[in-house]
């Protein structure tokens, strides 16, 4: 993984405030866990029925019955609790989830998220993504700035089937930290060594630049 991507993940970890209940989606978001200090007060939730996720375990130490929603073998910490799938999503839908970090195929300038279906190519199903995107108190996205073909993933309007409308507050990419504002995308921070014009060029919708110095990560 590139240095910029690692710095993006470390930067995303700072979104987590003390005392939060947080769900980290599959893929890049899961890596955020490596940047949370052991004594940091936070409850990590996984939708397959665990509150209080502990460190990921290697094959030799894994419990066959204890995984996260991405299939990784995880552990418990003092104060963890298991619950069934209905209770686990009750927590999500009733507003107890302070923050979720999700992956994306596309994010629109109005915060729409598409991350579950590429018609004709890949339809894995939405899993728990719709509820996480629609009901977490704050939704941030971790994604590469462009897809494999170099096309922007930050777009004016999603072309793929939606996961949820107007849900994304902030986007972390290897290039930038970008907020979704009532006026559209707004650049907040930039990867060290990049200039704003490069980010703008890789973004599929207008990107408002801050006045003055742009913080780097």
């Amino acid at each position: 993984m590139s240095g910029a991507r690692n710095r993006m993940i470390a930067r995303a970890a700072q979104e987590i405030a003390p005392g939060m209940v947080v769900n980290l989606g599959m893929g890049l978001p899961t890596r955020v866990i490596d940047h949370i200090a052991p004594d940091f007060p936070v409850c990590l939730h996984t939708e397959n029925g665990l509150t209080g996720i502990g460190p990921t375990l290697p094959y030799e130490q894994a419990d066959r019955n204890l995984i996260d929603a991405g299939g990784a073998y995880v552990s418990t910490i003092p104060g963890s609790a298991f619950c069934d799938s209905a209770t686990s999503f009750a927590l999500v839908r009733s507003g107890r989830l302070d923050l979720t970090m999700l992956g994306a195929f596309e994010v629109s300038a109005t915060g729409d998220l598409a991350n579950w279906k590429i018609p004709g190519r890949f339809t894995p199903g939405a899993g728990g993504g719709i509820e996480l995107a629609q009901k977490a108190r704050r939704v941030v996205v971790l994604t590469t700035h462009t897809d494999r073909d170099g096309n922007p993933k930050l777009v004016g309007r999603c072309t793929l089937p939606l996961t949820a409308k107007a849900c994304v507050a902030r986007i972390f990419t290897e290039m930038a930290v970008i907020d979704v504002t009532p006026q559209g995308f707004a650049l907040r921070e930039i990867a060290t060594g990049l200039d704003p014009a490069t980010v703008t060029a890789a973004t599929g919708a207008p990107l408002a630049l801050p006045t003055g110095q742009i913080p780097e990560f």
């Binding site: 209080g52 003092p78 609790a81 009750a90």
Partner: protein, 231 residues
């Protein structure tokens, strides 16, 4: 990662309840009723409350104190037959009472706790309890739309709580507590014992900590919590 500490002094926790609030109370009869939190609510003086509880307890206990002190505007319940004051106040128009089939009350609370808008059921279809409620045709049969219930604050009684708010309940004292603990903007749990993180096995927790905001220790149990001697 470590899990935050939610232990709170009783007065401080109850002070978060404003007059006019909607308050859920766990308990079916004596078991599970948060008598100490109710007493503190009476001491602090909040009034004009909407109370949601399975029953109105009995004379001199729990909900009856709230009624006697004139703190209740409205009661959503299933059965008040053991509390003559509740029946009398209802008949005199001093409180509004909304009756609900017991399992439907449980489901409406659970639906609120699960972030659902409503449930659809045929229960009570032929009774006056369904009057005025929206109807829906499901598979050719008429059904009733029962709206989800949420509240500002839920007061629940637990046998044990850890400092993060994971709760366990004793025997039939469980009843409405795990449901109400999901359905409130703020959940205050009184516990007979507060145990350290890790003392409750994760597969034996009845209400997961993330739903709970405040854990209040009960130093002693008042007489109300005891076995009722009946004639």
């Amino acid at each position: 990662m470590r899990l935050p500490d939610k232990t709170t002094a009783m007065a401080e926790a109850i002070a978060r309840i404003p007059s006019g609030a909607t308050v859920m109370l766990s308990g079916f009869g004596v078991p599970g009723t948060p008598f100490a939190l109710i007493q503190e609510l009476i001491r602090q003086g909040q009034d004009n409350l909407t109370i949601i509880k399975n029953d109105a307890n009995e004379t001199g206990m729990g909900v009856d104190h709230l009624l006697a002190h004139g703190r209740v505007k409205r009661l959503i319940t299933t059965h008040i037959g053991l509390n003559p004051r509740a029946v009398a106040m209802m008949n005199a128009g001093e409180i509004e009472v909304e009756f609900c089939a017991q399992g439907i009350l449980a489901e409406r609370i659970r639906a609120g706790g699960a972030g659902l808008k409503a449930i659809v059921t045929d229960i009570g279809r032929d009774t006056e309890l369904a009057q005025g409620k929206p109807r829906l045709d499901i598979g050719g049969a008429p059904a009733v739309v029962e709206l989800a219930l949420r509240c500002d604050v839920a007061l629940v009684h637990a046998a044990k709580a850890d400092t993060f708010g994971n709760l366990t309940f004793a025997a039939t004292a469980r009843n409405f507590a795990p449901l109400m603990a999901m359905a409130a903007d703020r959940v205050i749990a009184e516990a007979e014992a507060i145990v350290p993180l890790g003392a409750l096995p994760p597969d034996q927790v009845h209400a997961p900590g993330p739903f709970v905001d405040h854990v209040v220790a009960l130093d002693t149990l008042s007489e109300e919590y005891g076995v009722v001697r009946r004639a």
